[in-house]
């Protein structure tokens, strides 16, 4: 079986867990339950996790679908270097973040989901996967006239390339009949005024 890339799945799970933590945290803080400060903590942790997990990493083979607008966050996450690209660190970070939220009823679901995401990240790390940023290729602007080195000096019909001293241009090459050098029996004048 082909190597399954677990990191992509772990990324989806962590993003979803972040959102669940934020929701649970809002409920806990707004309802002013006992230990509601844990609700505030889980909102903060959820936001951090969402920001970290939003940029999708590059797949090993094939093209990766980017999330909408992820290139700004990619730049930020790239700055941290090995802290964010190593999946062992991510796994333990998620595990650590999930523990305090487990003490509150409203956020216990977020804890469980984040713990699962962390274990899948651990699996990905064991398989040697890494987070690589998706680089956006700079758009190649079509060079207008870049291939025109020198305009032709002879009017058509022109002799074939071998006989020409200067290199041929692409734009002129398409419709021009390439024939041998023509010697007109009578002098030809241009009658257009």
């Amino acid at each position: 079986m082909r190597q399954i890339e677990w990191a992509m799945w772990a990324n989806e799970q962590a993003l979803a867990s972040g959102l669940i933590l934020i929701t649970g945290g809002i409920v806990a803080t707004a309802g002013q339950f006992a230990q509601w400060y844990l609700g505030t903590y889980s909102i903060a942790a959820g936001v951090l996790i969402c920001l970290l997990e939003y940029p999708r990493g590059k797949r090993r083979k094939g093209s990766t679908m980017e999330r909408c607008g992820q290139k700004y966050l990619t730049r930020v996450v790239k700055v941290f270097g090995p802290l964010t690209s190593n999946y062992y660190i991510r796994a333990f970070l998620h595990l650590g973040l999930s523990v305090p939220a487990g003490f509150l009823l409203a956020t216990i679901l977020g804890t469980a989901c984040l713990a699962i995401a962390s274990s899948i990240y651990l699996l990905a790390a064991v398989q040697g996967e890494q987070w690589t940023p998706i680089e956006t290729k700079p758009k190649e602007r079509p060079q207008v006239g870049g291939t025109i080195k020198q305009p032709p000096s002879n009017p058509p019909p022109r002799p074939p390339a071998e006989a020409r001293k200067k290199p041929s241009e692409e734009e002129e090459g398409a419709g021009v009949p390439v024939g041998g050098p023509q010697e007109n029996p009578m002098p030809v004048t241009d009658e257009v005024v």
Binding site: E5, W6, M8, E12, A112, C113
Partner: protein
């Protein structure tokens, strides 16, 4: 003339499904909110404390889909003080409907968990598609939307599971806080202020519910489009956890935590017990409180009159409670049995391996396999699933049939494009690596071929192309396979079908790709020429990338060379031309290729034209 002369049946089904959900939700909600048999449960879970006050406060309450945010007093409210100017402590009491929300969302979940299995019964759908009982083309097109329906039910299950879980967490909290000795059997908690988390994990419904949420979480996160496109295996294996989900669901509803009162006649809720035990709370039950707010503006003097009007009963015995019969078992047993029966039938039918007759290597990494199997019947356009244990014990892959068995010839075949590791290994097993580069003649070496099992055939929208009078079939690259089977069928005999004109557009990147079916196309062209129907099949081949110098397919394919165009097709012009030559007819549009072409064709099919021709776009959904 309107764009759609016939109403879009898919929209009707969606409307029916939506109204069923809303009806169920509403009915169950009202039952638990107002039904007398749930009166005590309702009170215990903290509802009446706030709800009648919320009614009376009226303008201060925002009702957003039954999650009410009210300005309430934090202590036990006394309606007589409602109009005085006591300072109100704003407190969000949107938790006041835990019981009703949880039960209403449970009934919606029942419906969707049972409906979600039906689109996955592929044999049943293939049978319906082909049977005479579904004559209408419109109804058959509904079957094309089965995957969309499955996804919609799935999303609904997610959303309502979230609502259900949240509501039950609130119930757990209320059970522990409102514990009272009068109703020990009604309360799920064992003592006052029992930790709700303990309630969650030590009761059968709580534990199974928690496990179901985790399974659902795994299934949902693996079902996103990005995962399906990149790592289909993860999606497939986690989605098979649905069996675990259903087993847990059956256990979940057997817990019987929420009970109803059985002896309403001898113990009406709110009655007075002469022994002194107070069953009557400060507020009268909600179904009597309508009188309350009509008389409210006048102050609290009215209720005396009210108590004279309402008959206050004397309790004859203690209230008795019983758990509801698990309705969920009734809902999901039918579809689950149907689905399991179908899987079993498919497993039994595919137990016998096929006999591979020949393996042909085509240019551009395509392999053709011809095989026979006893009692195998298929219609053109259908697909089968191949399973080869020597390549991979667990993986199955679908391939469209390019040649169907007929009455005279039992051979059928598939064309596979070698893209991933499964197909690569499959090719290595079938053909020795040395001969893979050249285009070789088929040779029979049946003793060397691995065992191959097939499952199916399953239906697809392309079967319908023979049922239109005029069809436009657009293929991109290897997407030509469903249309190849249609062409093979036409080669066999075209008269039994309704089709009288076929526009066949095939777009490829590499000129060698056309050789996969160049012979078939030429033979078909010649046959129609001989039968004096040269306009039956109109072939247009497009070479979308012009890097290669080779501009002809082969010397012997003159009919195709003259129909080969360089560059991409101009769809608008093509549609105009088809519309002009087939005025007033309905043209079926079928596309098997990249999404960009598919979207363009869909858009163009929905546009009006001045010739009165109607284009019906038939969409196939792959992952």
């Amino acid at each position: 003339m309107s764009e759609y002369q016939s109403p879009h049946r898919g929209g009707h089904i969606a409307l029916i499904w939506l109204s069923l959900n809303v009806l169920l939700f509403w009915k169950t909600f009202l039952l638990y909110n107002q039904g007398p048999e749930y009166h005590y449960l309702h009170q215990m879970l903290g509802d009446t404390e706030y709800s009648s006050l919320c009614y009376t406060v009226g303008p201060c309450c925002l009702s957003i889909l039954y999650i009410r945010v009210c300005i309430c007093k934090s202590q036990t409210p006394n309606p007589s003080l409602a109009h005085s100017s006591l300072p109100w402590q704003p407190q969000v009491c949107f938790l006041s409907l835990g019981l009703c929300l949880s039960r209403a969302s449970a009934s919606v979940l029942n419906l969707n968990c049972s409906l979600i299995l039906l689109p996955m019964c592929r044999m049943l759908l293939a049978y319906l598609r082909g049977s005479q009982k579904v004559p209408s083309r419109r109804t058959r097109r509904l079957l094309d939307k089965s995957r969309t329906f499955h996804t919609t039910c799935g999303v609904t299950i997610c959303i309502f599971s979230g609502v259900h879980v949240a509501a039950h967490l609130v119930n757990a909290l209320n059970f522990s806080v409102n514990y009272c000795e009068d109703f020990v059997e009604l309360n799920a908690a064992r003592y006052r202020d029992e930790d709700p988390r303990k309630l969650l994990f030590t009761t059968v419904p709580g534990l199974t519910g928690a496990c179901m949420v985790l399974v659902l979480f795994l299934m949902i996160t693996a079902s996103t489009y990005a995962i399906r496109v990149s790592n289909y295996d993860i999606f497939w294996y986690t989605h098979n956890l649905f069996l675990v989900f259903y087993m847990l669901l059956m256990l979940h509803v057997s817990g019987g935590l929420l009970k109803y009162q059985t002896n309403l006649d001898t113990h009406p809720p709110g009655c007075i017990n002469l022994n002194g035990t107070r069953y009557q709370n400060i507020h009268l039950p909600e179904y009597l409180s309508e009188h309350f707010h009509e008389s409210f503006p006048g102050g609290f003097s009215k209720p005396d009159e009210l108590t004279q009007n309402t008959f206050v009963k004397i309790c004859m015995e203690e209230p008795r409670f019983q758990a509801n019969f698990p309705q969920t078992w009734l809902w999901i047993s039918g579809p689950l049995c149907l689905y399991c029966a179908e899987r079993l039938y498919r497993r039994i039918r595919s137990n016998k391996p096929v006999t591979i007759i020949s393996v042909i290597n085509h240019p551009s990494d395509v392999l053709e396999i011809r095989m026979v199997k006893e009692n195998f019947k298929a219609r053109p356009g259908q697909y089968i699933i191949l399973h080869c244990p020597s390549v991979s014990a667990l993986e199955n892959h679908p391939f469209t049939l390019t040649m169907c068995p007929t009455e005279t010839k039992a051979t059928f075949g598939v064309h596979l494009k070698i893209v991933g590791d499964w197909t690569e290994r499959f090719r290595d097993l079938l053909l020795p690596p040395s001969s893979q580069d050249s285009e070789i003649l088929p040779f029979i070496q049946s003793r060397n071929y691995p065992k191959l099992y097939i499952d199916g055939p399953f239906g697809s929208p392309f079967e319908d192309s023979l049922n239109y009078e005029v069809s436009l079939c657009v293929a991109g690259g290897i997407g030509v396979t469903p249309f190849a089977s249609i062409l093979n069928t036409l080669l066999d005999d075209w008269k039994p079908y309704r089709l009288r004109r076929l526009y066949f557009i095939w777009v490829c990147r590499d000129i060698q790709s056309f050789r996969w079916f160049a012979d078939l196309l030429c033979v078909l062209y010649n046959k129609f020429w001989q039968e004096n129907r040269p306009d039956y099949v109109n072939i247009q081949l497009y070479l979308s990338q012009t890097d290669g110098l080779q501009k002809i397919i082969g010397e012997k394919y003159q009919a195709l060379n003259s129909r080969l165009f360089i560059g991409r097709p101009r769809w608008k012009l093509l549609f105009n031309e088809i519309a002009k030559y087939n005025r007033g007819k309905t043209v079926g549009v079928f596309c098997c290729g990249p999404n960009s072409i598919s979207k363009t064709l869909h858009k163009l099919s929905n546009e009006n034209n001045s010739y009165g021709t109607r284009f019906e776009y038939n969409k196939e959904s792959f992952s």
